[in-house]
Amino acid sequence: MTISGMLKAAIVATIGFAGVARAEETVVWWDFLGGGDGVRMKKLIDDFNAAHAGQVKIDATTLEWGTPFYAKVQTSAAVGEAPDIMTYHASRIPLAVQQGVLQEITADDWTAMGLSQADFAPAIWDAVTIDGKQYAVPLDTHPIVLYYNKDLLEKAGMLDENGKPKGLDSREGFTATLQALKDSGVTFPLGSVTADGNFMFRTIYSLVGQQGGELMTDGEFLAGDNGEKLANALGVLAEWTTAGLQSTYTDYPATVALFTSGEAAMMINGVWEVPTMTDLAAQGKLFNWGAVELPVIFDKPATYADSHTFAIPANQGKEMTPERRAAVLTAISWISKNSLYWATAGHIPAYGPVTDSAEYKAMEPNATYSSLTANMIFDPKSPLAGVAGPIFDVMSTYFVPTVNGEMDPAEAVEMIREELNAL
């Protein structure tokens, strides 16, 4: 017997004994949560494993967010090597269903989990539903918010009596706040991820939504005056760049660094950066900070949001045992019901009873920006939509030159419309 042979035998024996002794179900888990929220998810998983010792054990792996994650899921599901459970963006569910990557979450599954439609907001429930069937269990919604440095705003006299930035209600007001910050000596009044069109999609889509605009109507992109609304949204950002009020050609890590180092006074970013701030603040390495709903630049408040969900991959040629499925459902159910802790990662839990609880309502900064939940807009429901999907990709190409002042907004919209309709 070779050494590797002996090793294998030993491993098989160990697993075999463990199986006989405890009948523990191991659930293979993949996620793409690499940031501060990933640390919190690991804690939730540890807590779950501790609470279910001997019954269910989650074996979790974190993979690279975006295209690498989704390409791996698709290829591994095709050969029966996908995990038992994975995180998935709600915006990518239409594409996933078309690709046949996801298993349906059946009525029996919902009963087994002790969850139901009534526990979720209608928009979120709709986001996981295709042709009347559900393909995922929503975990959270994660909008973008405006982070701000209270110390710098106060110095510029731009903090109101509630400790929020002034001028959040109009384009003129917000531009004036940015200008006042600039005049008070701040290098970048607003830190924006201007080098990354993928990220800017969230900000720009929010600004389009603030004018009541839509990306896709009846399968056509930017029909009617929607193109003009997109040009308006791009125009504001380009104007801030020209006036020197916004960081230019800044990639994602640099944007966060500009804000946390105090070079940028405000930052538009996802709620998933909340843990970064709370952790730095806890170590005494951060200024006084806050996070609020995006300013209303146009007619009405609107904020882009996506949802993290749990999905069960459709492994080709590999039937999931009833025991394994039950274990997976136990895991999803437990984490949904304990998602109050997930809210410390900045996200807004999808499970209604959690967001209705008094503890959640007292949680900061979530409570301050939770007003935005009434104004959230999601991706169009199309296989072309979703993070790192084709729509994201086409638009990002033209966002970068436009928001950095290289290209005229109207020209960019023309190109975007042409390319999107050619998809």
């Binding site: 698709q74 069109g197 050609y249 990639d251 640099a254 970068v400 030159p401 290289e406």
Partner: protein, 293 residues
């Protein structure tokens, strides 16, 4: 000594068989399949319907394919000849050194070559990052405007070209050094006796005798740079990948991002044909140029 021809052939076949089997299985067979897929509308996984040459016809009017083809050509121009020249110059310099000093200097030039591309990316991001890069602080020092090098069209390809030459020159230097060492010293001694100057020695002796190595380096570089992907992918992350598109990246994008296996295969076949044609042509040209001397 007597040899048994038949036995020799048999042994040869046995020795070659494992390689041949693997080569057929993981290279030739997938390549044949790729040609097949390129005529279908297959997604990334699974098969599709026959669409004839539609995938190829679409390439002609596809602006992103044009960007990718142009950027790839531009990158080849930026790196192949300059990369070869830089490596030759460094090799000539290193060849003049002796003993430990020579090994030391050679090691320094070779060091970047052993780095994985992700490390190369991180090192250069620290240097070139628009907000925090070392180079930007140097520009500040001289009162010059900062340049978002990896975020603008004009600077991106030249910068990636410089990084690539820095990264891969070590290997070419090594090939050149081996070539220089194989030139017999007697020839140089004879030239010195005839009072030949440095330039004449280089032009009449070193250059022609080094020619086979030069053309080899050139060909290796050409094929490698036509297949550029990693550096472009990493440096345009969180930036503007579609403006910096190169052919292999386009294959990746069509297949993995847009789930269009058929169209991706058509691009891959085009690149495959391009690499074969260009490298055969170039090798023939170089051989002819070498043969004239």
């Amino acid at each position: 000594m007597l040899t048994n021809r038949r036995k020799d052939a048999w042994i040869a076949a046995v020795l070659v068989a494992p390689f041949l089997a693997i080569y057929l299985l993981v290279f030739v067979w997938p390549t044949i399949q790729m040609f097949g897929i390129s005529f279908t509308n297959a997604p990334l996984i699974g098969s599709g319907d026959w669409v004839g040459t539609e995938n190829y016809e679409r390439l002609a009017s596809d602006p992103r394919f044009r960007t990718a083809a142009w950027n790839t050509a531009y990158f080849v121009i930026l790196t192949v000849l300059p990369g070869t020249v830089v490596a030759l110059l460094i090799a000539l310099g290193v060849a003049r050194l002796k003993g430990r000093l020579q090994s030391g200097i050679l090691a320094l030039f070779f060091l970047p070559y052993i780095l994985p591309v992700s490390v190369v990316y991180l090192i250069w991001d620290w240097v070139l990052n628009f907000q925090f890069g070392i180079l930007m602080h140097v520009l500040d020092l001289f009162g010059m405007d900062r340049i978002p090098i990896m975020k603008t069209r004009e600077w991106f390809m030249p910068a990636v070209g410089v990084v690539t030459i820095w990264w891969t020159a070590g290997f070419s230097i090594l090939l050149f050094l081996a070539g220089l060492r194989s030139i017999p010293p007697e020839i140089y001694e004879a030239a010195a006796l005839d009072n030949a100057g440095r330039w004449t020695t280089f032009r009449r002796i070193t250059w022609p005798l080094l020619w086979p190595v030069t053309s080899l380096v050139f060909t290796i570089q050409l094929i490698a740079q036509l297949k550029i992907f990693d550096q472009v992918y990493l440096f345009s992350q969180g930036g503007r990948p579609n403006d910096n598109m190169v052919l292999v990246y386009y294959v990746f994008q069509r297949a993995f991002q847009q789930d269009q296996g058929g169209r991706a295969a058509a691009v891959a076949v085009t690149l495959f044909v391009l690499v074969v044609v260009v490298s055969v042509l170039q090798f023939q040209l170089l051989r002819m140029a070498g043969g004239r001397k």
